[in-house]
């Protein structure tokens, strides 16, 4: 058991007991849905409908329903794809890397962050399929045994790497998330009164009884999955960045992309976690579990990654100048001063300038400011991908083919629609699944809660039956 500094802020406030934790979290699952939740779900379902309609138009008539053209072959589709994948980064980072680094503040946010990851990856995965001219043949990108003769997937293509990266990431994240849910499902099962809840949660909890053997296996699996996931956090966006970095298009063909994309992904992922957590915390009254301490820690990550991204932007310009490559130089001057200057400067403002406000402690700890800035970062990161994809393509080598891109209503419909999909999934999760990892929060209750702080001189940890039963890695 490690020693917790009295200087550190407590991670759980409000003098909660173990029972309080169970009560507070399970309450939402067990009670009837409230009006606010239902209204939010209705709005999400509306946008999901918009999504389905836009997808129908795309599948029925073709990609021509979008605003793409002979010069700009990717625009909102891949922008949205990279944006959603980026958002999906925070979950695994929080659950895997922070777990390995023994960051205890992750406990109360990891569940929701992981859920967000999975939903974001689902949204992201829509685009590589939808953006295909013939999506019904999407399975051809998988190296399946087939009867097409010598035809197989092209292992040189970064798009193929994407398929592997995204599918691996999705499956590992899903397993990791689900394994983490099992003990909490068991808790809910045990408290369940209705027969349906009993059956469903009973099945979901996979027969968990909380025996020492279960916990031991659970811990082992967690550690293994954390180990497996950690490289994925780096690999997914590295590979996504290679879609661009391995090409010959000025503005894409850049060696800085892998680290820059990973930093950007964490940046946007944390911003999205903040946006969602601030809302969830408020709606479900979880202020004692998601504290200002959490918010502040995440804001620090945002400053760091935001600054890395900012440095990357400037480095790109430096390299364009330093390389002496005419096309590269033009691509970057065109980004900042060409017809899409507004997209570039939106990106710079949202991603580089606004996060610097977090150097001020008051802003860092202000929920309103954090919420607004997190939205800014989300917008900025969308523009980053738009700038990279569209402004590089629309004016590449031969000026004769230079063109502009403008989205159609279907482009917008699909993008807004994936948000509908995302929030529908998230709202269902928030209602029917425990949004906070109950058993992990319990493990930090004694070590880093407000209660623990007041009593940590009286050494009681060893005698705590709960902790004996749940030998945690920390």
């Amino acid at each position: 058991m490690q020693h917790v500094s009295p200087i550190r802020e407590p991670l759980v406030t409000g003098g909660k007991t173990y029972h309080d934790i169970t009560q507070d979290i399970s309450r939402h699952v067990e009670s009837k849905p409230n009006m606010r939740w239902a209204a939010a779900l209705a709005v999400s379902l509306f946008f999901l409908g918009v999504f389905l309609w836009s997808v129908y138009r795309t599948l029925w008539y073709g990609i021509g329903e979008w605003g793409l053209n002979k010069t700009v072959g990717w625009a909102w589709d891949i922008t949205n794809f990279v944006w959603w994948v980026g958002i999906g980064h925070a979950g695994t980072l929080i659950s895997a890397i922070l777990l390995l680094f023994r960051q205890k503040w992750r406990s109360s946010i990891n569940r929701a962050a992981e859920a967000m990851t999975i939903f974001a990856v689902i949204c992201a995965a829509m685009f590589p399929v939808l953006h295909m001219g013939r999506p019904w043949l999407a399975y051809w990108v998988l190296p399946l045994p087939n009867t097409f003769g010598s035809l197989w997937a092209n292992f040189n293509s970064p798009l193929l790497w994407d398929v592997f990266a995204i599918s691996t990431y999705f499956s590992v994240s899903l397993v990791f998330w689900y394994i983490g849910l099992v003990p909490d499902f068991a808790t809910i099962r045990d408290r369940a009164k209705g027969p349906i809840a009993k059956t469903v949660y009973g099945m979901l909890s996979l027969g968990w009884v909380g025996s020492a053997k279960h916990w031991s296996r659970y811990e082992t699996v967690s550690l293994i999955l954390a180990g497996v996931s950690t490289p994925l956090v780096l690999s997914v966006h590295t590979i996504v960045s290679m879609d661009f970095a391995t090409s010959v298009i000025p503005g894409w063909h850049t060696t800085i992309f892998p680290p820059y994309f990973v930093a950007g992904a964490i940046f946007s992922g944390f911003a999205m976690v903040l946006t969602l957590m601030i809302i969830t915390r408020k709606t479900f009254k979880l202020e004692d579990y998601i504290t200002l301490e959490h918010v502040e820690s995440m804001n620090k990550v945002i400053i760091l990654t935001g600054s890395i991204v900012g440095v990357a932007y400037i480095t790109e310009f430096f390299i364009a100048w330093y390389s002496g490559v005419e096309y590269e130089q033009y691509a970057f001057i065109n980004r900042a001063t060409g017809p899409y200057w507004w997209a570039y400067w939106s990106m710079m403002t949202c991603n580089v300038i606004t996060p610097q406000l977090f150097w001020f402690r008051s802003i860092r700890r202000s929920l309103t400011a954090t919420f607004i800035i997190s939205i800014f970062v989300n917008i900025g990161m969308w523009f980053e991908r738009f700038v990279i994809i569209v402004t590089s393509l629309h004016r590449d080598y031969l000026p004769s083919s230079w063109a502009m891109f403008s989205p159609t209503i279907i482009d917008i419909g699909i993008y807004v629609g994936t948000m509908g999909l995302f929030f529908t999934l998230f709202l269902l999760f928030a209602k029917y699944f425990p949004v906070i990892n109950m058993f992990e929060v319990k493990t930090i209750l004694k070590s880093s809660s407000g209660v623990a702080h007041s009593t940590h001189h009286t050494s009681m940890h060893a005698n705590d039956p709960q902790l004996v039963n749940h030998p945690k890695h920390d």
Binding site: G73, W74, H131, L160, E326, D396, Y397
Partner: protein, 998 residues
């Protein structure tokens, strides 16, 4: 029939027993339990039980379901008696001739299974020498035009030939007033004979000829013919507003000649120098070494200034210009190798031009006096007189053959009114066009691909057209109709053949002429070039006094693709062919000079109303045009059709009425009032960025530099390595391909490319390229595999910044670059395709496997040349494209498709294949004959189409191939590959353009 019955269904029928005879009356020969099932008086045992009923029901349901799942019956019927000359899968070629709107081309018609599918130039022709204009390339589709009439019409209703013949002959006999045949230029001796025969029988017959793109001033100034220009002999060419490479008289012929003086090698480094004085930036002007923008009213002054220096003796208003002085001194210095041409329809100016050419010793050298051209014979004054006669009720019957004055004559309104006074009006139009609509009878003529005819474009140069398909509809050749109405029932083929007896003699002469399509160096009765008539100074004075006007002048021009807007207008290939200069499609527009746009604050697309002095007006969007003379605007004819067909109707505005009609003829310019009316209309351009931004993707240099050191004209990029700068190919990370048999490659000479767009149409036709219509072009989704990039020069340098470099100069120099798939040896597209749909062939082709493509568009993004085209929609069956993509969406239109090339499905990528189907068939042909492929045997559609032979295709492995020899000769001098620094190693090389700057 019954008596001689030979077949029987079985022995039962042969024996014809009573049982059989009875059974034969029953619909169902065997017992069916249906009736018993529902019979009311049947006993319990006899009635089929409920279970049987259910069984039957079940079987019926299953059978019906299965039947409905069955694939539809496709009509693939084998020949019972195979036509002698039709081999399925093998093309037949017929020599023929295209002549439309003054554009003459000797052609070869490719037919597959009896359908003409492509036209190519006839290399045996001494006139067009294997070249083919864009219009002629596309003309095969006019055969399959959905708006063609399928039967003759009487008073707006379909009728039959018998009734119509009887009625027309009746009414002709009783016509009060003269009988008139109105036509555009007819260069067919036999047709003229038929008309004469018809005229001999008719009352006070008159044959009125007018041309929508009239050259009557030129014709009159030269005594009824057009001089036989020979640009190939010219060292100095001065053109005053004559677009002889694009639209003027016989552009393919002139381009062939002109380019001989422009092709250079180290050993033959002489080039002609070409001065162009014009208002609108024309195709010819964009190829000139020196181009001066003048107002239309100054054309006469320029010619007069030359006249004064060369011939002397008239008092002309002073017009001086440094370039003009230079042009004059070079013209006079190059006596015997100088040529002046003028595009104006002013007889006075053309008379001066003739005198100048004579004084320069052009006649006999750069003008072939033995072979004058007959391609324009229209007489404007005659037509104007006819219109007045019609108004005054002097015309009893009017026949319109290949003429649509209700649309394409500036006095169209008077034509409309005049026709009301004519009793009998007959049109030979193939559709209900503007004039035919007003006629009592429409007697649709065959399409030229269904007809026999002959042509004499130049004296002594004859050619034939022969049917390549039997008539699709109940049409009849106009000549045959005329003969019939004059009481001669000979069919036109016999008539023609008899008429040719004098040329071909007896025996195989006729067959050879039909086979070759041409018969040249024969003595014909065509008009010879008359001797020059003395020039009266008064005549010139009158012309010059008309000059120099204040205000904005409108210069009306003709487009390379759409011509006069007759049959071409309803051809979607031509509508979607980007104008060589503006790169605009599907519309006409007001070309506004940059200075005027600044002054009047005009943005591209702003609607402008032009009102001519005669009160006629047209409202069109503005297109800001570098090179447009100050205070002038230009508008193209050929648009604004009302009754051309679904493709052309209401595309653009009709500018014919704005031309100036004088007593001497039609002048295609006018002073106009210029009014911004508010609102705008987007112009569908395939290229919106005008300048090359200082990049070396396209290279040019000067003749002086080339002569000093041919190695200095092309810039080659080097990559810095630790061992010093190296060629990009030397630092490759990739393994090179090894080509064992063939290595296909191409060289495109930028010095020879005039930017005409023939190759674009040739490619479209050969490769079934979809047409997408105006909105999709605006969306930048045209499907052309082949495009011609056009760049203007700019006055700005790198120091002025990139934004300034985007602005073209006021009077820019222009460079064209045909751009198609470069078939890179290290192709960026090939590595990124996740499903290996685009791969490299063992012969160096970058191939596209349509049915493997899933449509990620990654290849298109990663293509530095942006030549890949994506099927955004299902162009062949999306209803949005029915009216524009007629070759793929309509049953009739589909007959034009090349059966060797797939029509691409939605969602797949496509691009230039180097006409792989042609390579394949060429290789098979060689294999059958157990030999190697000969150079020149396999030619891509674009190379085949090019009237200036700018594109050379061949095998780079073959040491004797032309392409290999050019590469060997030009390596290090003019040959370069585009974007060499990214090391894509294209199989297409370009040769640097050399300008002969003054």
């Amino acid at each position: 029939m019954q008596e001689s019955k030979k077949y029987w269904k079985g022995l039962e029928e042969l024996n014809n027993t009573p049982e059989f005879a009875q059974a034969a009356h029953n619909e169902f020969a065997e017992f069916l339990p249906v009736k018993e099932t529902f019979g009311s008086d049947a006993t319990e045992a006899e009635v089929a039980p409920r279970r049987d009923f259910l069984k039957l029901l079940g079987f019926g349901l299953a059978a019906a379901t299965l039947a409905s799942c069955e694939a539809p019956v496709r009509k693939a019927i084998p020949y019972l008696n195979k036509p002698e000359d039709v081999e399925p899968g093998i093309a037949n070629w017929y020599a023929s001739t295209y002549f439309q709107g003054g554009d003459y081309n000797s052609i070869l018609v490719k037919t597959r299974e009896g359908r003409p599918i492509k036209l190519e130039g006839n290399p045996l022709s001494g006139v067009t020498k294997g070249g083919l204009s864009a219009k002629a390339q596309a003309a095969v589709l006019s055969l399959y035009d959905n708006n063609r009439l399928s039967a003759p019409m009487k008073a707006g209703k379909a009728s039959n030939w018998k009734d119509i013949d009887a009625e027309i002959m009746n009414r002709l006999a009783s016509a009060k007033g003269k009988v008139v045949l109105v036509s555009s230029t007819i260069i067919s001796p036999t047709t003229k004979k038929a008309i004469a025969e018809f005229g001999a029988k008719a009352n006070g017959f008159e044959h009125v000829v007018y041309d929508a793109n009239s050259a009557s001033g030129l014709v009159k100034a030269n005594g009824g013919v057009i001089p036989g220009y020979d640009f190939s002999k010219a060292k100095v060419i001065v053109s005053v507003a004559a677009d002889f490479l694009g639209t003027w008289i016989s552009p393919v012929e002139y381009a062939k000649q002109y380019i001989q003086t422009r092709k250079i090698t180290k050993d033959k480094s002489d080039m002609s120098r070409h001065f162009q004085f014009e208002s609108n930036l024309s195709l010819t002007g964009s190829n000139a070494d020196v181009r001066v923008a003048i107002k239309p009213s100054e054309e006469a002054l320029v010619v007069a200034a030359i006249y004064n220096k060369v011939v002397g003796g008239i008092s002309a208003p002073a017009f001086s210009n440094k370039a003009l002085d230079k042009a004059i001194s070079e013209l006079t210095a190059a006596r015997g190798a100088a040529l002046l041409v003028a595009g104006t329809n002013d007889q006075g100016v053309q008379t001066m031009v003739r005198a100048i050419n004579q004084a320069l010793g052009a006649e006999g050298t750069t003008i072939n006096t033995n072979a004058p051209s007959y391609l324009r014979q229209g007489d404007d004054t005659q037509m104007i007189r006819l219109i007045n006669d019609m108004k005054n009720g002097l015309v009893g019957a009017a026949f319109f053959y290949d003429a649509n004055p209700a649309y394409d004559h500036p006095m169209a309104e008077e034509v409309l009114n005049g026709l009301k006074n004519v009793d009998l009006k007959v049109s030979f139009a193939d559709r209900i066009n503007e004039t035919a609509k007003l006629c009592d009878f429409i007697c649709p003529d065959h399409n030229f691909l269904e007809s026999w005819n002959d042509f004499e474009p130049k004296k002594g140069f004859l050619s034939l057209s022969q049917p390549a398909i039997s008539p699709i509809f109940k049409t009849r050749q106009a000549q045959e109709s005329l003969l019939k109405w004059s009481g001669n029932n000979t069919d036109y083929y016999t008539y023609l053949k008899n008429n040719w007896a004098g040329f071909t003699g007896s025996g195989s002469g006729w067959d050879k002429a039909v086979h070759d399509g041409v018969l040249e160096n024969v003595s014909t009765t065509g008009q010879a070039m008359p001797n020059v008539t003395a020039l009266s100074t008064g005549e010139i004075g009158a012309t010059l006094n008309k000059g120099a006007q204040s205000g904005i002048e409108l210069a009306i021009y003709e487009k390379v693709g759409l011509g006069t807007g007759s049959i071409e207008a309803n051809n979607p290939w031509l509508q979607e062919l980007p104008d060589p200069i503006t790169k605009a499609t599907w519309d006409n527009y007001v070309t506004v000079p940059i200075s005027m746009a600044k002054e009047k604050e005009i943005e591209q697309g702003d609607l402008i109303k032009l009102t001519a002095r005669n009160g006629q007006s047209v409202t069109l969007p503005a297109l800001i045009q570098p090179g447009q003379a100050k205070n002038t605007v230009g508008v193209a004819i050929g648009y604004g059709r009302k009754l051309a067909g679904k493709v052309a109707d209401n595309v653009g505005g009709n500018v014919y009425p704005l031309a100036t009609v004088t007593k001497d003829g039609i002048i295609f310019n006018s002073t106009v009032s210029f009014e911004k009316v508010g609102g705008s209309r987007e112009i569908a351009q395939t290229q919106t960025h005008q300048t090359v931004m200082g990049r070396i993707v396209v290279q040019e240099s000067t003749l002086d530099k080339y002569k000093k050191d041919p190695k200095s004209v092309t810039e080659y990029v080097k990559i810095a390595t630790p061992d010093g700068p190296k060629k990009p190919a030397a630092v490759s990370l990739w393994q090179d391909y090894e080509y064992k048999d063939h290595h296909w490659g191409m060289v495109i000479d930028l010095n020879s490319c005039i930017g005409c767009g023939s190759c674009v149409i040739g490619c479209n036709v050969e490769n079934n390229v979809a047409i997408v219509g105006k909105q999709e072009v605006i969306n930048r989704r045209e499907m052309h595999w082949m495009r011609i990039d056009r760049y203007y020069s700019t006055d700005a340098t790198r120091e002025d910044g990139f934004t300034e470099m985007e602005n073209p100069a006021e009077n820019p120099s222009v460079i064209f670059q045909p751009m198609l798939c470069q078939h890179c040896n290290h192709a960026p597209c090939e590595t990124v395709c996740p499903v290996l749909a685009t791969t490299h062939s063992t012969e160096g082709l970058n191939q596209m496997t349509y049915n493997r493509c899933v449509g990620t568009r990654y290849c298109a993004n990663n293509c530095p040349y942006k030549v890949r085209r994506f099927n955004w929609f299902s162009y062949p069956d999306n209803e949005k494209f029915t009216d524009v993509n007629t070759p793929q969406t309509t049953d009739l239109g589909r007959m034009v498709l090349n059966p060797d090339v797939t029509v691409r499905a939605r969602g797949v990528m496509e691009k230039c294949s180097f006409c792989v189907q042609r390579i394949q068939s060429g290789k098979l042909e060689a294999k059958k004959e157990k030999r190697k492929v000969k150079d020149g045997e396999i030619v891509t559609a674009c190379a085949q189409s090019c009237p200036t032979n700018a594109i050379v295709f061949g095998d780079l492995k073959d040491p004797n191939s032309q392409v290999r020899q050019i590469m060997a000769r030009e390596q290090g001098e003019r040959a370069f590959t585009v974007l060499e620094e990214i090391n894509t190693q294209p199989n297409i090389s370009y040769l640097t353009k050399i300008r002969n700057l003054a």
